[in-house]
Each structure stands twice: as structure tokens, then as C-alpha cells.
């Protein structure tokens, strides 16, 4: 396993930990951006250039901004007044996620024998991706288009000021 992989993995996991542990919400959102960037670099390490650039374009360029806007519009960037930032039932949550990680880790390490060895680098061009999107995957593409339109209209309606509402 190369040094670059370990470095990127360390950055990504550190960013993830920061995103769920920090008190200031905007710092959490910025740590989330670091996670997204680290993941995009991991995708590039895996020779999936299109997925990596799409990850930066969509996640860092749009979803991170969305999270930050939501934090500012709901005034959550001010420090909480009482009780701290963790909910009352934090112990159960931690136990569950530790159990999930244990199960997943055990499965991965146990099936090492069945996992394939290093194979040659796939040479995927954007032309192939385009042909696949318009050929084999055209139905999912159209459904995702419909879904995005519905999500767009739905998000606008949900977050809109209603008539007669106190502003």
C-alpha cells in the first residue's frame, strides 16, 4: 500500500472525526469539505478521474455551500446555550456505530482470501462513459433527471415563505 494512500486516508478520516466532534458548526462544515476533497483524491488514486472531478464539482462546489448556508440561515453557528452539543443518548449511538464498524471490519479482513489481487489499470475514457450513459444507462439517467427536477421543486416549496407567515 503506497504512502500516498495512507496520507489521503489519514486526512479523510481525520476530517471525518473533526466533522462530527467539533463544537462550532461552521468548523464541522469546513472539515466536511476536507473529507470531500480527500475522497476525490482517493478516487483519482483509483483511476476514476471522472468520478473524482464530479465529486469535487458536486460535493465541494455545491453540497458544502448548501450545508454552510443552512447553518447560517438557522443561526446554528452561535454556541448552544445549555446541555452541550451531544444528545442525551450519545452512549447508545457510539455503541451502535462501533458495532457496525466491528462487523464491517471483520467481514473485510476475513474475506481477504477471496478478494482479487492487483489487476491492470483500466483505461476509461470520457467517450466510453458518455456512450454508456446514453446507451446502457439511459433509463437511470432519465429517472435521475426527473428526480432532480422533483427535488428542486420540492426543496423550493418546502423552504419557501408561506403567505401570511410571520417573517
Amino acid at each position: 500500500m503506497s504512502f500516498v494512500f495512507w496520507l489521503l486516508a489519514a486526512i479523510t478520516v481525520a476530517g471525518g472525526l473533526a466533522a462530527v466532534l467539533l463544537k462550532n458548526l461552521v468548523h464541522c462544515a469546513l472539515a466536511l469539505t476536507v473529507v470531500f476533497a480527500g475522497l476525490a483524491l482517493l478516487f483519482l488514486q483509483l483511476d476514476a478521474q471522472f468520478a473524482g472531478f464530479a465529486q469535487i464539482l458536486v460535493y465541494v462546489g455545491a453540497v458544502a455551500i448548501l450545508v454552510v448556508f443552512a447553518i447560517l440561515l438557522t443561526r446554528s453557528s452561535e454556541t448552544p446555550k445549555d446541555g452541550g452539543v451531544f444528545s442525551r443518548t450519545w452512549g447508545a449511538g457510539l455503541a451502535i456505530s462501533a458495532a457496525v464498524f466491528a462487523v464491517l471490519g471483520w467481514v473485510v479482513l476475513q474475506s481477504e482470501a477471496g478478494l482479487p489481487r492487483e489487476i491492470s489499470v483500466p483505461n476509461v475514457t470520457v467517450l466510453q462513459i458518455g456512450n454508456a450513459l446514453m446507451g446502457r444507462y439511459v433509463l437511470p439517467l432519465e429517472i435521475v433527471a426527473l428526480l432532480l427536477t422533483a427535488a428542486l421543486i420540492g426543496a423550493v416549496i418546502v423552504a419557501m415563505h408561506e403567505k401570511g407567515d410571520a417573517k
Binding site: 472531478f53 469535487i56 464539482l57 465541494v60 462546489g61 454552510v68 448556508f69 475514457t125 467517450l127
Partner: protein, 391 residues
């Protein structure tokens, strides 16, 4: 001999790299390319600042800076010395780490965008299959740094400026991408090198630049509007309007960090002009087949500087748009026009060669543009001014 002038920098790099052992040659070539980019584009930035101040001055009926050197051309050096020696004030309440990282992040991301622009024949730093996608990914990342700058200053005006800037940049990402998609569609590749090579052909001595086609001209106009808005230039510079918001999201920055923001903004302008040149104006190809003896990189930089001059000209001429006016303009006018342009470009491909497709496509675009413009103006009343007072 002319071939050598054209490939001057490539040959220079190969000669320097030849002194090293074979294992090191690739990495050294890349490092030399990076040094070239870091040297050339900030140099162009310096020229742009003088050009802007003198140009705007003349348009406003005054002389620009004329004390430092003949015609003020040593002004950038004076500006550099000033910003390097000014005190770096960080507000007490500001979030120091984020405050420091914001300009660094901006400059890094903007420099990454330069890596995929084909500056001349065989002169790209990185030739990727999806280089246009990489460029837009880097462009989208600049919004995060603007938000970081505005929020970390703990200043209402900075935050307001940052929110406005981010909203504006996100709104104009869509027309920027959509007008570039037309070029990708007609070329059949996302690679910028391939796009320039497709425009490097000549019929009767005239080039095949995309700006000379109806859909290309419309796409170029929309790209120019979106690019002006993306880089927060007038008439879309409400986020940093000096008369409204002090200085917007970089109010609390002084000294070297302000210089970095300034550098980042102007480099963004150069970068997006470079992309517009590559997509629509033929990149490094010469305007007439007879002029191919001039080196390709001279053509590229001339076209980029021409775009910069037009940007400065527009800044000096048009008034500023209000925030809601510019968002309205983006979503209700420019985006539908880009969609129509996509369909017209497809029609262009399917009508086959000949004069018919020129007439049909131009007619569709012009008629819809005029009709949409007239329809948009119908609701506006231009009578005597009415006032609405704050309660």
C-alpha cells in the same frame, strides 16, 4: 526557424531537462512547467492592474497613475512593495485559522485551473481526458474560500458580502457550464487540447473558430456574461462594491492577505478569459491561414489580453446591477437561452453543410432573443420615480 520560435519553450524545457538522469526527467519537466505558469501569469496580472487603472482613468476623464515610471508602468512594483510592508491586522474576534487559510486556498485553487489551459501548440501542463471538467471543479471550489473569508471576519458586512458573492457565483455557474457544453457537444470531447485542434482548421483562409458560428456566437456572449459574474466584475460586482459594502468579504484583510485576494481575483479573470479563448476564440490558432508563421503562444496571450481589455471596458461603462436583478437575469433569461442554444446547435449538426443552416439557426436565435427581451421589458414602467420609505 519559425517552427523553432513556435516551440521555443518546449525546446527550452527539453534542453534543460536533458541535463538530468532519465528517471528524473518527467518530474523536472512538470516542475519547469509549473515555474513557467507561476512566472508568466502573475506577470500578466501586473500588466492588467496598470492597464485597468489607466484605462478606467481615461474612461472617467482623468489620467490614471503616472508618477511611477513613464506612463505609470512601474505602478505594480510600487503596489507590491506597499502590500508587503503594510501591517497585517487580524480582528480580535476573528477565527484566526480560517481567516489565514481563506486567501491561501483561493490562490491555490485558481493556480490549479491554469494547469489545463493549452497555451500554445504542445504547451499544456497536464493533458487530461476530462480537462474541462477539472477546470470547472476548480472554479466551483473558489466559492468555499470566499465563504471562509466572509465568515471568519465576524463582521456583518463581510458576511453579507460573502453570501451575496456565493449566491451570485452559484447562479452563474449554470450558464457558464451550459454555454461550454455546446462546445463540448460539437467537438465530441471534454479535452481542451482536442477542442483547440478542432478549431485549428481553415476554409478559404478563414478559421473554424466557434465564435464564427451562430450557436457559438450566442454561447460566447452568454459565456462572457457568466464569466463576468463569476469573477465578481462590474456590472456584477455588488459583493465588493465600494459604495455599498465597504469592500465586501475582504473588508477585514490588510497587507499581504489582501494582496493574495487581489491576486486571486485577477488571476481568476485571466484564467476564465483563457478558457473562453480556448473554447470559442480558437485558443492558440491564428486568425488567418496566412498568419501561421507567428508563434502560437503569442496568439493565445494576445487573445487573452484582448478579453481582459474588453472586461475593463465593460467595467468602466456599465452601471452596477442590483442583487435581485442579477439573479433574475441569470435564472429567467440566460439559462433558458443556453438551453435554446443547445437545441439550435443540434439543429446545426443535423441540417448538414450549406448556407441553409446558417440562416435557420441565426434566425431562431435572433428572433427568440428579441422576443424574450421585449417580453421582459413589458412589465417595467418608466414613469416618474416613486419612493418607498423604510418603516
Amino acid at each position: 526557424m519559425l517552427e523553432k520560435a513556435d516551440q521555443l519553450f518546449v525546446l527550452l524545457r527539453d534542453w534543460v531537462v536533458g541535463f538530468l538522469p532519465p528517471g528524473w526527467r518527467d518530474a523536472a519537466g512538470v516542475v519547469l512547467g509549473v515555474i513557467g505558469i507561476v512566472a508568466v501569469f502573475p506577470g500578466l496580472f501586473a500588466i492588467t492592474t496598470v492597464l485597468e487603472r489607466k484605462g478606467l482613468g481615461r474612461m472617467q476623464n482623468r489620467i490614471g497613475p503616472n508618477r511611477t515610471g513613464p506612463f505609470g508602468i512601474l505602478q505594480p512594483i510600487a503596489d507590491a512593495i506597499k502590500s508587503l510592508t503594510k501591517e497585517d491586522i487580524v480582528p480580535l474576534n476573528a477565527d484566526a485559522v480560517v481567516h489565514f487559510l481563506a486567501p491561501v486556498f483561493l490562490v491555490v485553487v485558481v493556480f490549479m485551473g491554469f494547469a489545463v489551459l493549452p497555451v500554445g501548440r504542445n504547451m499544456v501542463l497536464v493533458d487530461m481526458d476530462a480537462s474541462l471538467l477539472f477546470y470547472f471543479a476548480m472554479g466551483a471550489s473558489t466559492e468555499v474560500s470566499i465563504f471562509m473569508a466572509g465568515w471568519s471576519s465576524r463582521n456583518k458586512y463581510s458576511l453579507l458580502g460573502a453570501m451575496r458573492a456565493v449566491a451570485q457565483m452559484i447562479s452563474y455557474e449554470v450558464p457558464l457550464l451550459m454555454s461550454s457544453i455546446v462546445v463540448v457537444m460539437m467537438t465530441g470531447s471534454l479535452s481542451l487540447v482536442r477542442i483547440v485542434e478542432a478549431q485549428n482548421q481553415y476554409t478559404w483562409g478563414l478559421p473554424h473558430w466557434y465564435i464564427f458560428t451562430p450557436w457559438g456566437c450566442a454561447a460566447f456572449v452568454m459565456y462572457a456574461i457568466a464569466a463576468t459574474a463569476e469573477t465578481n466584475r462590474s456590472p456584477f460586482d455588488l459583493p465588493e462594491g465600494e459604495s455599498e459594502l465597504v469592500a465586501g468579504y475582504f473588508t477585514e484583510y490588510s497587507g499581504f492577505k489582501f494582496a493574495l485576494f487581489f491576486l486571486g481575483e485577477y488571476l481568476g479573470m485571466l484564467s476564465i478569459s483563457g478558457l473562453g479563448t480556448t473554447l470559442f476564440l480558437g485558443g492558440w490558432s491564428a486568425p488567418l491561414a496566412a498568419l501561421n508563421w507567428v508563434p502560437s503562444w503569442i496568439w493565445f496571450f494576445s487573445k487573452v489580453m484582448l478579453s481582459i481589455v474588453v472586461l475593463i471596458w465593460v467595467r468602466g461603462t456599465l452601471p452596477r446591477l442590483r442583487q435581485d436583478q442579477l439573479m433574475n437575469f441569470a435564472w429567467k433569461f440566460v439559462v433558458p437561452m443556453t438551453l435554446l442554444n443547445l437545441m439550435v446547435a443540434a439543429l446545426w449538426r443535423f441540417l448538414g453543410e450549406g448556407w441553409a443552416r446558417w440562416v435557420v439557426c441565426s434566425a431562431i436565435l435572433v428572433i427568440v432573443y428579441v422576443a424574450a427581451g421585449r417580453a421582459g421589458m413589458r412589465g417595467k414602467h418608466f414613469g416618474p420615480r416613486t419612493y418607498r420609505y423604510a418603516e
